[in-house]
Symmetry: C2
Subunit: 272 residues, 2 copies
Amino acid sequence: MKRTAFFISDGTGITAETLGNSLLTQFESIHFTSITLPYIDTLEKAEAAVAKINQATKQDGASAIVFDTIINEDIRNLIAASNSFKIDVFATFLKPLENELDTHSSYSVGKSHAIQETSRYKERIASVNFALDNDDGARTQQYDKADIIIVGVSRCGKTPTCLYLALQFGIKAANYPITIEDLEHSGLPNILRNYRDKLFGLTIDPFQLAAIRHERRPNSQYASMNQCEFEVREVEKRLRQVDIKMINTTYFSIEEIATRVMVESGLKRRLA
Amino acid sequence: MKRTAFFISDGTGITAETLGNSLLTQFESIHFTSITLPYIDTLEKAEAAVAKINQATKQDGASAIVFDTIINEDIRNLIAASNSFKIDVFATFLKPLENELDTHSSYSVGKSHAIQETSRYKERIASVNFALDNDDGARTQQYDKADIIIVGVSRCGKTPTCLYLALQFGIKAANYPITIEDLEHSGLPNILRNYRDKLFGLTIDPFQLAAIRHERRPNSQYASMNQCEFEVREVEKRLRQVDIKMINTTYFSIEEIATRVMVESGLKRRLA
């Protein structure tokens, strides 16, 4: 069965999209085509959206599912009149919240980003810059300023994890790849020994690692199953020897890896 | 007035958090302290969460607000018994969706990330790598493979925008800083002229630019108001001359900048 889902907002659409995806993935038997329509903030844009919705409903032979987080009533009413099954997020939850909080909501567009945005922006940019400056073991002099230092074999997911930690949580995350040269000596690389409390390990299934490395450097020694197995086994062993926590990234999304790192490391997010 | 809000999930908590933040920021008169509790996937963890919730309610002298996206019924019931005002996202929306779709939902934890995760992961990693490889004008040979090339003065927000485009939408975004040296010649830098259709401009208020640069290099010529004004004015003029679209990043969050770039460039996201 086939259905079209729309995530519609007068802002970025991230809330409608996040919520909608969470709900729709609970229905495995149905194939959804997802369409996000952000910044639907005029009646003209709303009319164009309605045309798209009605078209999808006609084509699928079944109502399109519409998740919306539109504040403006006129625009919302227009969308509501479309030929669709509608989940109106704000209408559903704002009223009960108003009652509980005994106050009116401001119903203002994009509020979720306007407040404290400048300091939040600066904090995030500073963290992203930190992740970039301290990516891939490029620099180690700033490790005393790091909130966390992610370690693991090359291509196990360290960089995107650090960037996500920076963007989402404002965490200053450095990362250090433990290379085949590092493994010629016993234990952890010297530079890491002073920062034991900040270390956090990522590991990966050697088979998947070989596949990822193969895309980067086809048929190289670096991408060989033998070397991947050796590196993963050695790095895991050395991290376990000194009780460094470790997450296997093989079956997780970047969001999940980063969130698990936050939970298991006990780090506090720096962004509200 | 002061209230504590909890975002609770047996997964990452991103859905509960995104939805909850969107709703709570509609209530400007109340100061919320937000606490995200991800991976509440055992009764023990749920009991600890309940203790925290009850403690907050007691301390604030008003019910904590709980947003949850927990699938497991036993765990959800435990949380439901806490002393709080509860917004149960799945309970509210899954039933109507089941009726509309005429099927049962799978109620399985973390489904939103499990499906197609491997290919999604690879796509994102490839895009993040592309953004890193082509950051800050470091390389220009891969511009033919770029989905978009973000241009603007140094420190106007290009890098985090590119990374967000990569992580969130799977877009391959390069970025090129137009420097004071580039401005010695007329028009756009030569390297960019072959890629006019891929260019997208970011600009920024010179005052904010000076503040940001000042943090990076205090009291430098680079951070002076004079130079910031000159660079911004010149870059804007040159981009306008050849009809390159432009967004002013000064008052927007990274999510908003990236989403606006998607809308205005007409790019299609590569991640479902």
